[in-house]
Symmetry: C2
Amino acid sequence: MPPRKAIAGTNLEQAKSHNRRVVIEAIRTNGALSRAAIARLTALSTQTISNIVEELEREQLLRAQATLKGARGQPAVPYSINPDGGYSIGLQLDHQLAVGVITDLSGTVRARIERPVDRPTPAQAMPLLAAIAGDLMRKFRFDRGRLLGIGMAMPGPFDVEGMTSVGPTALPGWQDFPVAEELQRLTGIPVTVENDATAAAIGERLYGVARNLGSFVYLFIGTGLGAGLFLDGHLYKGSRHNAGEIGHMIVKPGGLECGCGKRGCLERYVSLRAAYECLEIPDPDHASPELLQALLANGDSLEAWVVQAIDPLRQAINMLELALDPETVVLGGFMPVGVIELLASRLDPLYLSVSSTSARTVPRVLVGAAGKDTSVLGAAALPIFSETNPQFDVLQKPHSA
Amino acid sequence: MPPRKAIAGTNLEQAKSHNRRVVIEAIRTNGALSRAAIARLTALSTQTISNIVEELEREQLLRAQATLKGARGQPAVPYSINPDGGYSIGLQLDHQLAVGVITDLSGTVRARIERPVDRPTPAQAMPLLAAIAGDLMRKFRFDRGRLLGIGMAMPGPFDVEGMTSVGPTALPGWQDFPVAEELQRLTGIPVTVENDATAAAIGERLYGVARNLGSFVYLFIGTGLGAGLFLDGHLYKGSRHNAGEIGHMIVKPGGLECGCGKRGCLERYVSLRAAYECLEIPDPDHASPELLQALLANGDSLEAWVVQAIDPLRQAINMLELALDPETVVLGGFMPVGVIELLASRLDPLYLSVSSTSARTVPRVLVGAAGKDTSVLGAAALPIFSETNPQFDVLQKPHSA
DNA sequence: ATATAATTAAATCAACTTGATTTGTTTTCT
DNA sequence: AGAAAACAAATCAAGTTGATTTAATTATAT
């Protein structure tokens, strides 16, 4: 047996790549910064920063703003991210809808397309997704050299026997299907695939309420329920890419039966599907989140479900806080924002946990900023994140083929 | 407001430090390796490795072994970790016992001391711990320049209002007490403090059953219950150093009352304390784990507790698997090894989770290798780990004061 | 005028890489 | 059996890269 591949070493080239990312990240989280300010922030020398900034400006990733007068000394030239320095395509596939967007580096949507689907199989979905990507690029024209990649979000979990394709919250027929490879083959563009919760987490981290945070959990309430984990500045995906699939954690032993074979799973209480069933909405397979929004407007018609859902949700938050000690828990997903806000307002009092400390700068629970498009926007953020975020991987020399 | 400190950049010095760690880690996980083999494993050039190995050998961290003949070409000189290249002091404080060890780089215990305590306050414990450290160094003499530091393990959580000092499983009076600083002041040696579960996890990762793993969870069953999280090659401690405090997650809504104010917390079922209470052992504050070992030998006297504990334990494992998708879950703690093994044998069938896949190389649950000294050994491993493990932090230039 | 802060330029330095060379075996050929 | 060839490991020396240092320059406020 050959020795297992170890953590790789690094060299100047990798180091530079890291430093470039560090510069971008500093500006992204702080807003426009002068070279001198970046140097202070990153502990690098002003000369190094000057070189890197010059290079990034030449590549149009950064752009200079008006000089900042009013202070002593030579006036500083602040640099900010150039939105048109790069573009990204985000795709999202769910039970009833396929959505695609093009965003620029600032996360602004420059084109958007949606198409209805009905619990699609891979054979149905792949050509459709490729077509959406193509249509998006016809709709919004830009220098193809500036396209960073395609990010795709879809419901997890991936490749779990007896779990991926079971029950009403999973998409059928996707077990073992190599989504990223296939889509990459069809489009000729590099593709990253993540589950919707993870994608949403990245979106909130790059552009939303989690912009400055080092560790947080995104609780994605969709057809089912999942968590996106951002820990110590890194996305955590798990050893088999399935971290955060907490929809099937048990919150009520002996409770409602679940498609996974257990009883009392979290997503039997907190999910769109659970809401539809609890509220006895006909044909839950084809119900839409807007229906809940409508009910919300209509007095307390949601109450029956909220009462059932709120304590399981509290338990889930409590468990995540205890297990991961995040700076905050962000709530979002396909559930309409109004409903999310209703749930959030009903959470008080949260259970005691390690998050129960007065030395907090962020509330224990936040509502996500991106609304119903969270996961497409997050999907589009994936390539941007992987190209610009400082990560441990970057410092490691790639093993040659 | 000054801009928040960003992720720092890197330079040659940091890069070298990383590469040194990479070399050590490669040998640690693979056993003795020749320079050429290290180069292949780390993707660095043979020349670079040659330089680093030479340096590490000069510092006595590595030592050459007999050349390896029998193959073609010039025979390789394998290098292995020199156990006497460094030493570490591990301290462990619990309700009834303070233990200290000196280990060498290979994790072998070279001296051990234990002293009884009774739910000690900081004022009582700090001088005692300092004294243990001093006595250890009188007992086993070595070059003080080779002492990497003191690692200390104690029950968490840290600094949580209404949680740290509440209930029979927490140590009273430690809220806000700066343990590491104080012990460092008393001994003049750098000190790292972690909760016992985290320490144990590091121990298993360096020397135990988790030696080669990138992501695993250590479930520490002690007076209470906690988890140590090792994710993607890094220790995850949480934003306030309290990750893994899952003893207070709810496994039975409306179940047994807990000191934290909730009902049905995990550690009310799975912990030494829970076992003592369930088995109606008199004076649980001063009972000892050996008592359970004795009961175990005595037929099925533990059965009443095992029946109560096993499903909450299953739930906890299920939740951890779903949330973190680790390669495995390691079971250990102060609970006697025999009892841990009994629990492990009773876990089957585990609940369905993302870990339920046939493509596994490691069982879903393992019993820790270190036995009852897990957390002291883990504590001693802390300074070794932080000095030798490749980590993201290492690449970041420290901000000057 | 002077102090101050930002930026730039040139020279220096540390660590990795490259390519050629040396070394000590094993294998193959005569 | 002895010599030559093949081979892999290790070393040497020169070259490259990118961060740092030092010194100078610039633009502003006091």
